[in-house]
Amino acid sequence: MKHSDDPRRTNAINRRAFLGTSLGALGLTLTAPGAKAGALRLLGGRRREGERTLVIIQLNGGNDVLSTLVPYADDEYHRVRKSTKIDHDTLFKVDDYRGFHPKLRKLSKRFAEGEIGVIQGAGYPGPNRSHFKSREIWHTADLRGRARGDGWAGRLCATKWPEESLPELSVHIGPSLPFSLHSATHPPVAFNTPDSYQWLGDEGAEGSLEMKRQDEEEERRPSSVLDHLRGVMSDARGSSERILEAIRRYETPVDFKGETFSQAMLTASALIHSGHGSRVISVTTGGFDTHAYQKGDHATALEKFDDGLDSFLRDVRRCEAGGRTLVVAFSEFGRRVQENGSGGTDHGKAGLMFVAGDPVRGGLYGKYPSLTDLDDKDLRFNVDFRDVYATATRWMGGDVEAVLDRPWAGLDYLS
């Protein structure tokens, strides 16, 4: 794709501001949320110094606490996990009670060096064991789920940077955009991979996808939906060009595996290195819904996570902005204590969270949930995930109450 200096492109942001005024003059209500986005945002995409970045990693499917941070010294563990238990000898021991799964080799090394925070027993009251309902709760930081209207990270962007017009302020890399980034005024940029995130047709046609400046005044039939879609096109063209540029120019000596999650983390790192303004980056990795064949499947899923996270942490450190990057990893729930009859485990409640990056003070947080004092056969939570979010929100300079509805005290995992 040609990266021409098309004057129409830089004017796109001005155009939206202009359109906002003219539609306002017509007294039309903009019912489509994105139309508001187009109308309200003003110019402001300049490069900023000293800004922080939040990287949110979602482990899809419900990551099993007992297999990730294994309570090898607990008799109950051996009783309830006869076929799915992890061999004592293969663990990376943390202390005389627990150890990391063998596939978390790099993570456990970093943990030993004080770089990873593990939040044991993270959850929320009245837990929901449905994937989609529980994810909604984690995404909105609200027990009502999507009824809240926007995602917590979307709220962070909207409240912290209300005037920001850069579409890629929040970015999701991967096929399915989580609701955490959802915002009526600051819709995220989402793309699967940078290479498919571009116009692949005739180069000469690309410029004609968007309205020209001089046509705006003549446009006599404003339709709020069409206006919204035009705004999305404008965001897409601009952000795709910038993102591709950031990725294509990027070179690193750090090794990233070819697998999807690692590649997505490479893209995330490249974005951070480019410094042009993404503040929230979201990635997901899957394979954790281990109802059966848990030992093999969970190991694979953890290995992918380990590889991707480690390469990212190594790579992102090579630039200054990387030192101001915080990673928060979560899953929509943990899994049942008692294994099922199919060599796996079913949906549970409390889970683990990981925090990583230079700002983090490594170590164990919260308490390892008891395997016997259970919440209807499931692990009890002892850290509300909103406290974990609150710390991240505060660190990003956001207003905790605006983003998370209550003045959560936060969990002290930053140095």
Binding site: N60, S130, Y197, A292
Partner: protein
Amino acid sequence: MRLQLQACLLSVCLSTLAAGPLAAAPHATPGEGGDEVAQELVWNRRTVEHLFNRAGFGARGGQISRALKRTPEEVVDELLEGGRHVAPPYASQGTVEDTEVDRSQPREKRRRESALLKREDRYQMEAYTCWWIDRMLAHDDPLRDRMTLFWHGLFATQYGMVKRSYDMIQQHQLIRDNAVESYATLLHGIAKDPAMVLFLDNQRNKKKAPNENLARELMELFSLGEGNYTEQDVKEVARALTGTSRDKIGNYRFDAKHHDKGRKTILGETGRYGAEEVVDLLLRQTACARYVTRRIITYLEGVPPDELRLVEYAAFLQRHEYELKPFLRKLLLDPRFYREEVLEARVLGPVDYVVGSARRLGMKISPDYVRAASAELGQKLFDPPSVKGWDQGVAWINTGSLLARGNSVGLMLGTVDLEETFRPKGKKRSALDEPADERVEEEERGGRRSREEPSDDDYEEEDSMGGSMGGSMMGQVDDDEPQDDRDPMPKELRRLVNALGTDYQPELNLCWSLSRGGVEGDERIVAALLDDLLAIEAPRDTRRRMLDYFRAAREAAGLAEEGFLTEPDRAEPILRQLAHLILALPEAQLG
């Protein structure tokens, strides 16, 4: 009284707007003893196209002109009548033995066999999906397929969780056979449908250990809507649904020993209810008629109905005992269905967009491509992100999915050459290159894990991996597949290329269609393509831009305006590029 007057004024205002400057003069056939309704309804190219967009998958070629020569009643009645019945492909049910685990075999062998069965099942699911898409493309029974797509999203069930194509197919047949017939039949069927029972764990709903999943969704999503029942009602409905179960190969089974025969009090009524009685009870509720009415009208119009209209239609639906044809006839002949607010304001879902584009282009496209492309764009048929189905409207579009739509059409048109764009660095194309299919097969073998069919007691609710809920959707795909290091083409594009097949040639002749239509000259060519390809009327600035592009492309190719279409070898590629551009526009996402 005042409210009614206001409503009257509103509808007068709206119909004035509808007959405003942009609408052509009404072509309604003057009724000789015609309907009241027909005389108010504005019947012109725009509204006819709108009818075909909503009650079908878009109008094609002369369809609009032909429809204009008839009355709205005739056209709507023909849609309701439907078309020829085309039998679905044979679907194998499998045997109970297939579902059982032979523990005498080593684990690796079991796993491989399981993987093989899974793959075969997936092929069967894909084959059936392609059959359905073929129906949509053929447009023999457009209203039926439109309503099937609607119910498919309402009675949402995930193949990724049910894992049996046979079960999903039976459910789909229930839905498709009754899509324009009876909601009552649909609700009765769904409450006992084996795929739904498994999806919502009702085989685990037993007297001694109730499971509320099906009971809750039956009321919340399938009949009454949130806020029209209490938690106690959920518990009681769950009791009534105990025993509604299935066997391992997708047959309905009633487990009397697990059924709670006691008295239940649901929504104020008491009785020894079982599944059928519960459904009858739900159908008696006004809330049910309201909920179904709201869902249908919102889907077909793209805008929720106002309270007056909701009351009117809900009462009508209930009076007609949930028969859908009278309801749909009323709606499709309602002048308000054609009001300005509704026209051109709905965002096309992925299936709509891909099927619609193929239809408007007048090109043959493989249903497998439609299936793959729709999945990439966020609508994987038979695998919605959750029991809530897919979010409609602007939620379909985000920056990634908008660009992906244009690219998916470009692939169809042959104006996107991915092999060239993603050639491995420094590697010349040679006959020794591994064909694309093999590469993805390897990925699938390596990356996709197999899953044994879990036993009834232990299975719980699950939704498809990699799916999101709420917000905008991109591709719904399993994000566990490894990126093949050797393949520089992103796998989301590789999937599409594979679906087209090697040596794909678009079956299309824009040059010929245009000359046959007597179209000549830049302006008329551009106008004709815009007219054909957009489901909405193109704004003026868009027309100008398309004309500028076309003219520049034609001139760059050294072709004169006059006689342009007489040089198909050189004209066709330009026409296709223009078609691609048009279908990638924001305007092309509306219908």
